[in-house]
């Protein structure tokens, strides 16, 4: 089975290297040999060449077969299709625009809905009884709820005077420790 692996690697290498098909020359030499042999048998040059070509059985087909045995024909075809697709899209701008818009809106809407459903329904807060959790804030903070901060002393004070909650705690909301 190492033959198969080696073949795969060699095919990959041929695909990327794109070396010229020196088999082209090989086949030309083949036809020269065959023609020469036929001429030696007493045929005129033209007939000798014709017979040689018949025996060879289609130079283009042979090259095609040879190419298939050599690189990665399926990847070649895939890339061809991709290039064709891009060309077509470029030619028909309005179609492309509409298709992109529809796809974009569809995907965007899905993501928006899913992320809401995900946070609210699928992944609730990592505490038990999350519905009892509250955040202590002043009324209508200027920069939104997340901009509200308290000093450590204030948190201590809240904890000392707390009678309404099971417990009061604070968290450090910034990534640097300079505050």
């Amino acid at each position: 089975m190492t033959g198969g692996l080696r073949e795969a690697l060699n095919r990959l290498r041929s695909f990327f290297r794109r070396e010229p098909l020196d088999q082209d020359m090989d086949m030309a030499t083949h036809l020269d040999f065959a023609t020469e042999e036929n001429v030696n048998l007493g045929m005129p040059q033209k007939e000798a060449r014709r017979r040689a070509l018949i025996r060879f059985g289609g130079v283009q087909q042979a090259k095609e077969r040879q190419r298939e045995a050599r690189g990665l024909p399926w990847l070649d075809v895939l890339l061809q299709d991709l290039r064709y697709t891009l060309r077509t899209l470029r030619r028909d701008r309005s179609f492309t625009l509409i298709a992109v818009l529809i796809l974009g809106l569809g995907i965007g809407a899905n993501i928006a809905v899913f992320s809401v459903v995900n946070t609210i329904l699928l992944r609730p807060l990592p505490f038990h009884d999350p519905q009892q959790l509250v955040r202590i804030l002043t009324k209508n903070p200027k920069g939104g709820e997340s901009s509200m901060t308290y000093t450590a002393d204030a948190v201590d004070e809240f904890q000392k005077r707390n009678s309404s909650f099971q417990e009061v705690t604070g968290y450090f909301a910034f990534s640097s420790s300079e505050n």
Binding site: G3, G4, R6, E7, N10, R11, S14, D22, Q23, M25, D26, M27, T29, H30, D32, F33, A34, E36, R55, F56, G57, G58, V59, Q61, A62, K63, R65, Q66, E68, A69, R70
Partner: protein, 117 residues
């Protein structure tokens, strides 16, 4: 009319090329094709061009090596030769082929002896 020539079974050409190179040593594509035709007594239908796909395949698998050289009549040609790995493969493939043909032979002989009514 000439009798119809045998079509080559899938994979048999590779084996023929390997065997030919093992027998006659380094040879160019045309030489291999002619040799196979001669040995087969012109019984097989060989498009000589198909040899080249086979040669590429065998090269990719590392069973033969190729090298540019000059022929007897001073033409530049690619000369192919069997590698050590190729010889090992040839032994294995030959054994496989002989097993297959002997089984086919036995099964077909049985039918002729009246095993089937």
């Amino acid at each position: 009319m000439v009798e119809l020539k045998l079509d080559l079974l899938q994979g048999t050409l590779d084996l023929m090329v390997l065997q030919t190179l093992a027998t006659i040593g380094s040879q160019h594509g045309y030489g291999i094709a002619r040799r196979i035709e001669q040995v087969s007594g012109d019984e097989i239908l060989l498009n000589q061009g198909t040899i080249y796909a086979s040669l590429v395949r065998l090269q990719q698998r590392g069973w033969i090596a190729a090298e540019w050289g000059t022929s007897d009549n001073n033409r530049k040609a690619k000369f192919y030769s069997i590698t050590r790995r190729g010889r090992k493969q040839l032994v294995a493939d030959t054994a496989h082929w002989q097993r297959l043909t002997s089984v086919m032979g036995r099964v077909l002989a049985m039918a002729q002896q009246g095993g089937i009514r």
